[in-house]
Amino acid sequence: MGRGGVRERVGAALIAVGLTIIGVQSAFAGRANDTLVVAIEGEIPTLDHLYTTARDTIVVSELTDDGLFYIDPDTLTYVPLVAESYVQVDDTTIDVTIRPGVRFHDGSPLTADDVVYTYNWVIDPSTNTNRGRLIAGWLGSVERTGPMTVRFHLKHPYPLAIRDMAFSVQLRKAGAYQGADGKPDPNAESLKLSGVGPYKVIDFQPGKSVTLQRFDDYYAASPKGRPAIKTIIFRTIPDLSTQQAELVSGAVDWMYNVPADVAANIGATGYAVHLTGPTLRVNFIPLDAAGFTGAGNPLTKLDVRRAMIHAINRQDIVKYLVQGDAEVINSACHPLQFGCEQDVRKYPYDPAEARRLLAKAGYPDGFEFELWAYRERQVAEAIAADLAKVGIRAKLRFVTLTTLNQARKKHRVPAFFASWESGSTADTATIAETHWSLKSDRNFSNDAAVARNMEAAAKTIDPEERKRLYSEALRRIADQAYWIPLYTYSQNYLVSKDLAYPVPKDGLPRLFRAHWRPAKASPAKAS
């Protein structure tokens, strides 16, 4: 099917006829109403980003929440956001001065008390926030040193303190989690959020939609700037074909995580614009080298693991399935990340070599294992087919992320299709931390040497020393084939032709930077 061929035009024409008749749907979206309608696949179960791992909540949280710091999308460095400035007093102490004029959505001003309350809530193990354990791992305590100043006491030198504060701790009002009966209530902010971000929530229907409106008292000095679009509505449309229909009929203005084929086809019809962009996300498959799912299982043998990487035609998968800006990776990190050693052992596509290694390991007829996945179904299937060609029968199990996490904790998962976005941070520490710590259930290697290096690299701020530690660890990881390194993820967006959306370098959608293109040859409308 050629791009822009006769079929496309006929299809486009039919769809055009449809537009005029389904007009009732598009009445609410678009430039005319200054309303940006976003279609997302997953549900938003809660407004409180401190309590959810749901993928799409990050996009919403970027709009409704602010942290002390912020990752500048153009330079990919950390800049103060709610903080005005900070001083690294010594290796384990950071002083932060808070910007004046920051208001919560209910109008009350933000002070040091709110910052202290939020951080204390997060590091308290009984509150069970999503990243509480991570933050409590390095943050000892936080104290108010003045009405607008706060001092952080770290447990050890930690190079990513500012990054964690930017990405993982969204600020809440002091007393936000106080239930009506005086007891702490972690669900207090899930339905009604009071944040400090550039947008406030004016309607929330869990699982269905979130409606945001520009917060007019948002502090002018914010690096995020004043958003151009007044209203943003997130609609959960889990069905991809429905999403497309809505986009084409004008009821939806912005979509992401669109499969490459679909995005290219719709872009070709001319009804929406297909944008691609890089991300810091990498996909890979950890293998149960340590034998958690069964001592002596095939994955515990080095030759078997190496055979598996040789068996998969990663190049073809990237070229034909993933497409866009994706690239094959060989190391356990994103090539753009600081410390991501590229001079490691590589495993080119070689099914014959794979069979030889399998036979050497004692599996001339291959073996069977379960490959769990929660996303990227087509890629997982393609990988399974490649493995099947050398005799390895991968039984695919598609589950939700929550189910996968639970099963992994119980050591029922021998291999899973993993994906890590590193919080859009160009530093290997963000991927190393969670995957190589001996306490992490994502660590299937149980390798003490690697764990030691990763831990040390996260406890010093000397760049040369960090690079050396990462290099050593990553070389060992590639040597031992603890992971099947796959590829970097390319993001596909479909946006309305009326919308100008700057594609982010780190793949994190920041919708406050979107704005309407000026209407052509029609009376100018104020937007």
């Binding site: 099917m1 069905d239 229909a245 086809n265 399935l321 179904r377 299937e381 087919a385």
Partner: protein, 308 residues
Amino acid sequence: MSEMDLSFKAAAASETGGELLDAAPARPKIWRNILHHPGLMLGLTILGILVVLAVFAPWISPYNPYDQHLPQRLLPPVWVHGGNAANWLGTDHLGRDYLSRLIYGARVSLLIGFGAASIGCLIGVTLGMCAGFFGGIIDRVVSFILTCQLALPGLLLAMALVFLIGPSVGVVILVIGFLHWSYYLVVTRAATQKIRDLEYITAARAIGSSRLQIMVTEILPNLFSEIIVIFSLEVGVAVLAEAALSFLGVGIQPPTSSWGLMIAEGKVSVFLRPWLVILPGIFIFLLVLAANLVGDGLRDLMSNESRR
């Protein structure tokens, strides 16, 4: 003789039509009438073709259905611009030949259809015979079990169980079979009750045959024609149930080529490549239609027979 609630009769029968309950058990000498019943012939023909496809799949299908060729993914069928004769019905998202996958899909559907219907048959007929033959407290207990089973939302439970236990062909067959035996039970029970009171049964008891012997040698053969009717209808029900489960993602898993799964996989490009959805659907439709035609046809013949 306790009467089954009208509503539960209706419930058990409503999916497939309820006249069977009133038909008297007929001796199976109706085969010569088959040729004169167009619906039945059509059904048997279609079923026959699909069975042949399934059994001889390795010889009939042009390619291996699991062979992926990423550079040739999503090719259209030969009659659409861009298609080629190498893949008559095009390829799927991993470059696998669609025609081959459709042919192998017959295996999955028939296996699950017959498998689940058999399990349902085993459970339903056994319970029904016991209830009808022994009556009394056993009958009440079985009726109670039936009522409970009817009350449980079948599809929901099937989804939950398959998902929690782990999706595989075996689990799907078991779960669907365990949730679809009510129709067998109702009909078997009614038929057994009618036969039980006939003279030759009393005679057999007098001679000294054990109850089990009587059930197996006297009653069961007479139920055969009714059971066959229900069986073919239930095959259709099972195939549809599996298709729905696989479509929702809680049934057969890739890379097995189940027709329901193929529809789910094709759904994402339904506007631009509608054949990915339409073709497997046609096959499911044909199989279930055939099963229903056969079932309906047999029932018609039996009703005619019993009116003589």
